[in-house]
Symmetry: C2
Subunit: 369 residues, 2 copies
């Protein structure tokens, strides 16, 4: 069994341990030989070039992804060449284009914020009028970690973005907190759902994840599961699907965004679940039976390492973080520290959420300072 | 941080996930490009050739081992060239030469079976006379998994082995069961001790491991810990040390053998302990603070996959094993099935040992048949 991953970032890197354990050979088409997933990089090239991707795909049984940036025409060329592409182009489109997703969610009756596709300042102005004077404007494609997202309160506040086509305008949801529901699906239809988690964002980037989401009503848990289950099937997802959700003060659950690959909100599963999202993703794309997604401990806390130490010498911080928190699980992505960059995460598990959060934060602080 | 591993077997393979998680680059000197640890193989060559090993070592910060078969003169050449070799030649000698080990254990006062170095049939006859008429004869070097071990009841029963030098004769210990105490030590002296485990052997090969060792007296646990602690320090071990023990009917604990590397008796730690033996070995050889060796679940059961299916098609068995035991952790070594060969293992964890043993055995049976 040989899986090919397009993209050599930390998600591809974190698939490597799961592949090694399961006896699966893994090959990565990396951006460079120094990509985060470099141990598995067998080819270096441009993921937007069909010939490059096709040549890479010939050596593997199935192709999957580190990111959602492979263009549709390249994906279609793979399918036309008989390559098993998982998830497939149709499914991936919903993770690539936020307007397509919003339309589909509406058709499926899945709860989401009020939204509109707007083509110009007049359209945005009209939406602002209907949405209480404030909106989140997003470029439908290419955004991530807060890029391509802007809060606006004025019709002309997104004029510089209209040149590339219509924008997505969404109501500014007064949410109580953000949740994420991770699910995996194999081509035969089997679905595995992990516990619902709470995610804490800052500057548009995931900072912390608590699993399971603390103080959650049974109704919210049920709705989140139903949404994820529905979407995995309706969108014909293969592999991991992460559904980012808003929980409102009145306990409504609205779909914010989704990712069709292992996701930051699921990193806790490496140490906190019987089957990690990376193992499950590999099982799913190979159409193998899915593993048990249950939690292994009552609580898990995951804290991202963003940026790293100002002097760039992460190695020098590792010993004190390890010494201070011997039970914390350090995950370092082999990436050079740079302000705001995700270069690792720490997970702690245990019987008490506060203790786990403390341990993970303490280790990250020591890696960071 | 870059670790070089000499030998490309499954122990090197299982270091890869730990290295990837910790942000450590790992390079392997493999027997072939198709070695079990092939994803990390950066050089292929003969580990008994000093020039080959020296060339490999130049690209890494520290050298460690998949096996104990690197000759002393090669190890010394590495040290002379300024390479950090962990564990070092002095320590490794005790894992390479069973007569040296027996002498050292005697000098340290560590409990062990009655033994003697015997040079000929007369010597063996004398030992048999003192040991009740039966003995285990071992070649001091090169034995593993039952090779180089023979039970004898007659003075001439090992004549074919004397040509290569003296043999080790040991009393045939009437043991109740076999135990293993895993420990790790870093150069600064810190030691971490995992829970004592029971190991079940068949034909000289490890079959199953139960962690912690069930129905164990506090005294046996204490003695096992003390022995491992003593040996790790006295032998100046760096990395993982596995001490294989006999527990007698009268609760004596005797040292059988030891291994100075991650060991089959510790594979359960990947899924069953906060810090796996592979992560701990990497921390130790890099002189990083050791992780918490505590168990993550009340019970873990590890069952080896020996040989594999008769038709050699292991991939075809994976789906049903996964479907039948969704919570079992499969570890496949990327090795071709062959009678008796260790090609994988399965670990199950939980609140009940019998359930864990059942799950792990069921998965292995489905992979095997």
């Amino acid at each position: 069994m040989r899986v090919g991953v397009i993209g050599g970032g930390q998600l591809a890197r974190m698939m490597v341990p799961a592949a090694v354990e399961l006896g699966i050979d893994i090959a990565v088409l990396g951006e460079s030989a120094e990509s985060s997933a470099r141990i598995a990089v067998t080819a270096v090239g441009d993921h937007t070039d069909a010939a490059t991707v096709l040549a890479f795909a010939r050596g593997v049984d199935v192709v999957t992804f580190d990111h959602e940036h492979v263009p549709q025409q390249v994906l279609r060329a793979l399918v036309d060449a008989g390559v098993a592409v998982r998830p497939g182009p149709e499914a991936l489109l919903h993770a690539q284009d936020k307007l397509v997703l919003r339309e589909r969610l509406a058709a499926l009756g899945v709860p989401q914020p009020a939204w509109a596709g707007v083509e110009d300042a007049a359209g945005l102005g009209a939406f602002l009028g209907s949405a209480g004077g404030a909106a989140v404007v997003k470029t439908p494609r290419g955004g991530y970690d807060g890029h391509g997202v802007r809060v606006v309160r004025e019709a002309h506040a997104a004029d510089d973005w209209f040149a590339d086509g219509p924008l997505l305008a969404e109501e500014l949801v007064p949410f109580r907190r953000e949740l994420a529901q991770l699910v995996a699906r194999r081509p035969s239809g089997d679905v595995a759902v992990w516990p619902l988690v709470e995610t804490v964002q800052g500057d548009g980037v995931c900072r912390e994840v608590f699993a399971p989401a603390p103080r959650t009503s049974a109704r919210v848990e049920r709705v989140a599961r139903e949404i994820a289950h529905t979407l995995a099937g309706a969108l014909d997802v293969t592999g991991v699907l992460a559904v980012e959700l808003f929980e409102t003060e009145d306990e409504r659950v609205l779909v914010n965004e989704l990712a069709m690959r292992p996701h930051n909100s699921g990193h806790w599963t490496i140490d906190g679940a019987v089957t990690s999202q990376f193992e499950q993703h590999l099982r799913a794309v190979l159409d193998l039976p899915l593993g048990d997604p249950s939690a292994r401990a009552p609580w898990s806390a995951m804290v991202n390492l963003l940026g790293g130490p100002a002097d760039g010498d992460l190695d020098a911080r590792v010993p004190r973080a390890m010494a201070d928190q011997p039970a914390a699980k350090l995950h370092l992505y082999g990436k050079a520290p740079r302000p705001g960059r995700k270069i690792g995460h720490v997970t702690a598990t245990g019987d008490d959420l506060d203790d786990a959060v403390y341990a993970a934060r303490a280790a990250v602080t020591l890696l960071q300072d």
